[in-house]
Structures are given as structure tokens and as C-alpha cells.
């Protein structure tokens, strides 16, 4: 079976869990005999793992101007205002003139390089909507020039691309919901993003959600027929040897770690509150907030105001091996997410023999047994769990023993098989 997949990021160039999940799933699916996957990202760097599938960057695909002009499927995507005129490579001055001219006539321009290619940053910058739209343009082109049976688009950034590919070819579209804007915004959704998500979900033939929590959001908040939405849980890759690297611990204190974006969605303030409670009872413990985000400064100020700065450490954003180094010196991992569609990081912590405390408001809580579960707002319970893990050694022993086994049994291959079963409703 040939699959055309659209994603926004791919390891090693990632900014969060989405790229890791896409990679894991793709790898897991690629172990199934007969699977042929073409994974498209806006920008490819050439150092992506391509041992079992192909990864291409949309920026490397030349656009046939005439065919794009003829693509009717782009017209309906009005919310991202694709009424494109492709222009060949120009100087910035010329481009600006053209843009002004086009804007006056109600059209939008897409700038290409000399070879008829589009430029993508593949990030989440200020031209994000434009990139999403451009990505859809290229998606249509890729769909027309490649042979495949089914389209699979990961998260809202790629839904327009998926739709474009579907319109261009009539092939079935599966969209994969790793998160919704309700998770990211804490309920205060961005109307444009919501619209893109909703359109994607309605036009998709099947929707895969990463947890029942997310599935319910899709059904209730976006008004989707429950029969169309399936839950496929994420998994985690086994650790590589270099990831088992042990960092030598320079201190005798216990280490409790928060690792993730420091944003409202991840609940960093509950971590601080729980930490403060623990520090009132014991002093041989340090708390690490690893990650960056819009609440980071606030957290730094707050821990200072609470008088616990000397016990709090901020590492900034960690990626790659640094994540595993951080785990190797941690005694407890805490994920107090307010809304977490899945949450792979506790699985990574458990792989590194770090007991995890997770919120019930995370998708991973639906499947993990050997993690301590609390409500994100229940700071007392969270503090109690941290204290228990630090003070009653049998608890950590149990968590490490059973947790490692439990995570070991969560394989991307199994997630891949479930995705295949969904494909098979359309393709034999």
C-alpha cells in the first residue's frame, strides 16, 4: 500500500512532540510488509532517517505554474485565501511591486525560486498561514506527480495540504489529530485555526485521534460523527545505547523534573505549587523546569517571590540527548498538563527508569498503569506523590520495574497496525 503523508516537522529538526510522533508512527508502519510511505515536510534538511521510507521537502518540489493555475481544488480553501498567482523568482523590490498590484486586484502572490520552487521555513513563524497555504499548493502538485493509495495528514498545519491532495486525485484522506486548538489555547481558540481544523475534519474520510480524550474533543467541539473518529494511541521507540548515557550527578539532592513547553497547556504553575509544598517538608530536593515558553519568565519571578529560587533550576529548551541526560539525573518526572492529547514524555521518562506523575487530563493516562495519576489542579495529591516517591524507596522500585516493562510493550508497530486497519476500510 502506498501512503502519501503530510507532516510539518520530522526529526532531528523538531520543536515538540509532533515530529517525534510522526517519525515513530511512520517507522512503525514501515515495518509492515508492502508499506510504501512518502513523507512530505515543508522543509527537508537531508539528514532525516530515510532507511524505510522517503522524506521530501515541499521546498524541493518544482511547481508547474500552469497546473497550479488549473487546480480547482485550491479555490475552496478561501479561509487561507489561496487565490494564487505564482510568480517566478524576483528581487525583493520587484516582488513588493507585484504584491501591491495583486493585493489591489484581490489576489495573493506566491513567490517561487528560479527553479519554480517555493521557499519554506518549516517553522511556526509569522508567515505561518502563508506557509500553510503554499504547502497546500505544493501538496497538490506532489499528489499529481506521485502514485499512492491514501493520504494521511498530521495536525492542522497540513490539513489544507491533505485536502488539496484529495481534491487533486480523489484519493481518500485520513487526518491525524495529535492536538486541537482547544488543547493549545486552553479553550480560547483561534478562529482561523479552528476553521482550518474543522474543515479538515469534515472533509476527511477518517479521523485518527491520539487518545479518547482527543477523540471526544473532535466529536464534541467540532461536531464530527463518532463513527468517523478512531483512537490510535502513540507509542515510544526503544532507547538507543547513546540515550542510556548516564550523567554523573554532582549533587546529593533528589531531582524532580518538569520537561515541556512552559505554557498554560502544560500546567507549569501546578508544578511550582506542588514543589513549594514539598519544600516545606524536606530540603534535600531540587526542582528542574526544563523547557521554554511564554510562561517561563513568570515562573522565574514567581519562584523567586515564593523564596524557593535556590531550589529551582531552569534549563531552557532541551532536545535530543539532553532530554535523556536530564532524565538520567532525575528521581521523579512530573507532567501536570492541563490538556494533553497524548503526552509521550512520561514514556521516555519511564524508559530512562524515572517514575512519572501524570495528570488525568492527558491521553497517556488512559493507557498507563504504572504511573502516578493526579488531577492537574490537585496540587496536594501531586505534592504527596512527589514526596512519596522521594521518601518511600519501595515505590520507586515498583514504578521502575513495572514501568519499564509497560513502556517496552508499547510499540509503534502496534500503532502502525491499527492505522493500517483504518486504511483498509478504503484500500485493499
Amino acid at each position: 500500500m502506498k501512503v502519501l503523508m503530510f507532516g510539518w516537522e520530522f526529526p532531528p529538526h523538531i520543536s515538540g512532540g509532533l515530529g517525534t510522533a510522526c517519525y515513530g508512527l511512520t517507522r512503525g508502519m514501515s515495518t509492515i510488509p508492502g508499506m510504501d510511505i512518502l513523507f512530505v515536510v515543508p522543509k527537508a534538511y537531508g539528514d532525516e532517517d530515510q532507511s524505510r521510507f522517503r522524506v521530501i521537502g515541499a521546498g524541493d518540489v518544482p511547481i508547474n505554474i500552469r497546473s497550479v493555475r488549473d487546480q480547482k481544488y485550491l479555490k475552496d480553501l478561501s479561509h487561507i485565501e489561496i487565490n494564487s498567482n505564482l510568480v517566478p523568482y524576483t528581487t525583493p523590490e520587484e516582488y513588493e511591486i507585484l504584491v501591491n498590484k495583486a493585493e489591489n486586484s484581490g489576489r495573493r502572490l506566491v513567490e517561487t525560486t528560479m527553479g519554480g520552487k517555493l521557499n519554506f521555513t518549516g517553522t511556526y513563524g509569522k508567515n505561518l498561514y502563508e506557509e500553510i497555504a503554499n504547502y497546500a499548493v505544493v501538496a497538490g502538485e506532489i499528489a499529481l506527480t506521485n502514485d499512492f493509495d491514501i493520504i494521511h495528514a498530521h495536525d492542522w498545519l497540513t490539513y489544507p495540504a491533505g485536502i488539496a491532495a484529495k481534491r487533486a486525485t480523489g484519493k481518500p484522506l485520513v487526518i491525524h489529530v495529535h492536538a486541537t486548538d482547544f488543547d493549545r489555547s486552553g479553550g480560547n481558540v483561534n478562529p482561523t485555526v479552528f476553521e482550518i481544523e474543522k474543515t479538515g475534519m469534515h472533509l476527511a474520510d477518517k479521523i485518527i485521534a491520539v487518545s479518547n480524550l482527543t477523540r471526544n474533543t473532535v466529536i464534541e467541539k467540532y461536531g464530527i460523527d463518532p463513527n468517523k473518529v478512531h483512537t490510535v494511541y502513540n507509542a515510544v521507540d526503544p532507547l538507543h545505547d547513546h540515550e542510556k548515557l548516564q550523567l554523573k550527578r554532582g549533587i546529593n539532592d533528589k531531582v524532580v523534573t518538569f520537561l515541556g513547553r512552559v505554557t498554560m497547556q502544560k500546567g507549569p504553575e501546578y508544578f511550582v505549587m506542588a514543589a513549594q509544598k514539598v519544600l516545606q517538608k524536606m530540603d534535600n530536593v531540587r526542582f528542574v523546569m526544563a523547557g521554554s515558553g511564554e510562561l517561563l519568565e513568570k515562573m522565574i519571578h514567581w519562584t523567586a517571590a515564593l523564596g524557593v529560587s535556590d531550589r529551582f533550576h531552569y534549563t531552557g529548551f532541551l532536545k535530543g540527548d539532553d532530554v535523556f541526560r536530564m532524565f538520567s539525573i532525575s528521581d521523579v518526572y512530573v507532567m501536570p498538563s492541563v490538556s494533553e492529547p497524548f503526552g509521550i514524555s512520561p514514556l521516555e521518562a519511564m524508559q530512562s527508569n524515572v517514575p512519572s506523575i501524570i495528570s488525568y487530563q492527558s491521553g497517556v493516562a488512559e493507557i498507563l498503569k504504572h504511573a502516578f495519576k493526579v488531577d492537574f489542579w490537585d496540587v496536594d495529591a501531586m505534592a504527596d506523590a512527589i514526596y512519596g516517591l522521594l521518601n518511600y524507596p519501595a515505590l520507586s522500585t515498583m514504578f521502575i520495574k513495572f514501568g519499564a516493562q509497560e513502556v517496552h510493550d508499547m510499540k509503534w508497530e502496534n500503532s502502525g497496525k491499527k492505522v493500517l486497519a483504518i486504511y483498509k476500510e478504503f484500500v485493499q
Partner: protein, 469 residues
Amino acid sequence: MRTICLYFQVHQPFRFRRYRFFDIGNDHYYYDDYSNESILQKVAQKSYLPANAIMLELILKHKGKFKLAFSISGIALEQFKLYAPEVLESFQKLAETGQVEFLSETYSHSLCALHGREEFERQVNAHRALIKEHFGQEPSVFRNTELIYSDEIGSMVARMGFKAMLTEGAKHVLGWKSPNFLYCNAINPKLKLLLKNYKLSDDIAFRFSNKGWHEYPLTAEKFVSWLNQIPEREEVINLFMDYETFGEHQWKESGIFDFLKAFPDSVFNNSSFSFSTPSEVAKKLQVVAAANVPNPISWADEERDLTAWLGNEMQQEAFHKLYSLEKKVYASGDKIIEQDYAYLQVSDHFYYMSTKFFSDGEVHSYFNPYASPYEAFINYMNILSDFEIRVNAGILSDTDDQVSRLSKIIKEKDEQLEKLEKRLADKKKPVIAKKAATSKPAATMPAIKKAAGTEPPIDIKKAPSKKKK
């Protein structure tokens, strides 16, 4: 004589409240009064009261032919007194008929038989006194918590003067042998053993309302027909189960009370079986063999072993930590500490920490107030940490008294010395005072206390030198 021996277990734990680590050292009340009271009253209404009413009716109806035995934990009796005195009265009414035997067990439904003899004897004696007080009987038959038994435990029970003991007819112990005979302890043959017929007992206790069971529905007649199929020479059918089987584990709607009501009639009309109490069985029947049980067994789960309470690291850590406090608890002489110590031993607390059936839940999740065994463990350990502080404080305050008494003596001697030195100095040239070592009470006190306890501290110079020993 072929006979049926009925024994029912009555127990309810004192459940703990949610006890956070920041309560440690601040709040010494551990119990969830609300759930203890509401659960007890619910079980009383659904099970104990209606079942006791039926038992009384059956005893009166069959005039001396229908008999049974109860074992009621001390903790359950305390809760009856607190929350449902009418339940205690209904048991007392049953006791008055003379057809009901009350067995002995540990006061707090404890696992202390696995720890050591001293606490075990303390608990059993406390329970014995309680049974005597409420039911006017001196128990002669013992049943250990969860029917836990081994050769060693049996021998310990025999030494305490019991004539018989109840345990599980575990397949891995009996092998091809039948539980339907009287056995004896392998170390001390004087102690008779009654073994549970788990097949027939569990048909009532676990399978009665199971619609997927091929024998469903179970009627008294059908059950008696099974009894009749048992070979003639097998003498006693021990049906042992939780009393909550009637009305709580098997709901009233399942017809369990109708089964109970019809059972004696069916037995008398359709079989040659009689009913006997455990002590009657022990007295009348001949022992056929000794049961060899080197490793402890219980009536729990398929394995019939201890893994439901002591199967994982958390349970073991909690168990060892708890019993490591034993000496200090009784050294404190504090009745409330002793009471909490007993309540901390209730086997249910350890059961809640079991990870055995974490994956498929079922029996272990029944009545479990915790979302996971990990929560149960943290809660227990928090309470135990506070308890330990109290136990140590009890002993410390005692030490403090001695320290201050001794400090006073030192001070007096110091002053005396000073006076004498002054007098000496007045007469002669200045002399170097030798009292340096007396000025650090904290460091020297433990040693002085030891010395002072046995002999009067006469010479101040001796105290510091003793410290070095």
C-alpha cells in the same frame, strides 16, 4: 456421622482518610469516619441484619439441629458498637441460642502471625477477652486472618491452648487428599485442623450469582445433591466464607437469602448430613493425618498464598516498617498509640497495595478505596511516618524527663564543687578547676541517663568518663 460445618467471617476495616505528607507531624487522626460509618451501615442493612434474622429463625425452627460458627474481628465489633449497636445485639441473640460458636482470631484482623509471637499473643488475647465480654464464650477454636496457616503458626496456636484451627483446603497442600476429613498440625498433633472445602464454599460465595456459570442458578436442592455425591466415608464438609456473601457480595436479588433459608430443610429432608460447630467436629471426629504446610497458605486467590498482602516491594516495606516499631510502641505505654498500632495492622491496608491483579482488576478492586496500589502505599506510609514520629516522641519525652532530672543533679554537684574549690582557693593559692566536661548536656545526656538509671550519681567526675565506654 457425616456433618456440615458452617463458619462465616465478619470483618470490616477501619479505613484511613486521605492523609497527605504535610499532615505528618501535624495531624494524628488517621481514620475516615464518614466512609467507615456509611459502609458499615450499608453492609449492616444489606447483609448482617437480614442474615442474622434468618439464622435466628433457622436455629429456632430446627430446634438444636442447625448450628454455625462466626469469627468476628475486634475491629468489626468496635465498629458495631460505634455505628450499629443493633448488629451487635443481633449477634448476641444468636449467641444466646447456644447453637452458635464464636471463634478466636487476632483483634485487628492482623498479619502479625507472620511477624512474631509476642504481638500475635497480645492480639489473640485481646480478642479472646472481647468475645468473652460480648458473647460469654471462651473460644477454643482459632481462625487466623484470611485463614493464613503454616505448621509454625499452628504450633504457636496450639501452645496458646487452642484445640483446633481452621484453614484452607489448598490443593497444593492436600494433593490427592480430600479436605473432608479432620487433620492435625504437623508439629503438634494435638491441634486439630478443619480444612475448607473450597469448591463447595466458593460455589456459594463467588459463583452463586454468576450467570455465565454452567451450574447457574444454584438451588439448595442442587447443592444438597452435590453433597450426596461425596463418597460415604468422607465425614465433614467445611463451608467457610465471608458473612457478607449474604446480601453484599451476592445481592438479595440473586436469591441468596432464599438459598440460605431453604438450605437446612434440604439437608435434613434429602440427605443424612447434620450440622456441627467447629469445636464439635474437632471433638467427635478422628484425625486421619497430619497436614504438612511448611510455607504459609491462605484462602485468597488461585494461588492460596500470601501474595495478595505481601507480594510486592511496597507491601513488604510497609509491613517491615510497621513491625520494626513494635518494641517502641509498647515501651511508650501510651494506650492511644497501642490502639493505632493495632489499626495499622489491619490486613486490608496491605491488600489495597496489591499489584497482583492490577491489570485485570476484579476481586482486588472490590471495596478498594484507592485508585491504585501506589496511592494506597503512599497514604499508608504517610500515616506510618506520622505514627513513627509519635512513637519516638513518646519515648523521647520520657528521656527528656530523665535528662532534666540528671541535669539538675549535675548542676547541684557543680555548685558544690565550686564552693569547695572556692574554699580551697581561699586557703591556698588558686587551683585550676576541673569541671570542663559538665557543660554540654545534650551530648552527654544519653550516657549519663544510662549510668544514672542504675546507680546514684555521686561523683561528678565519673559521668564524662562513662560517656567514652
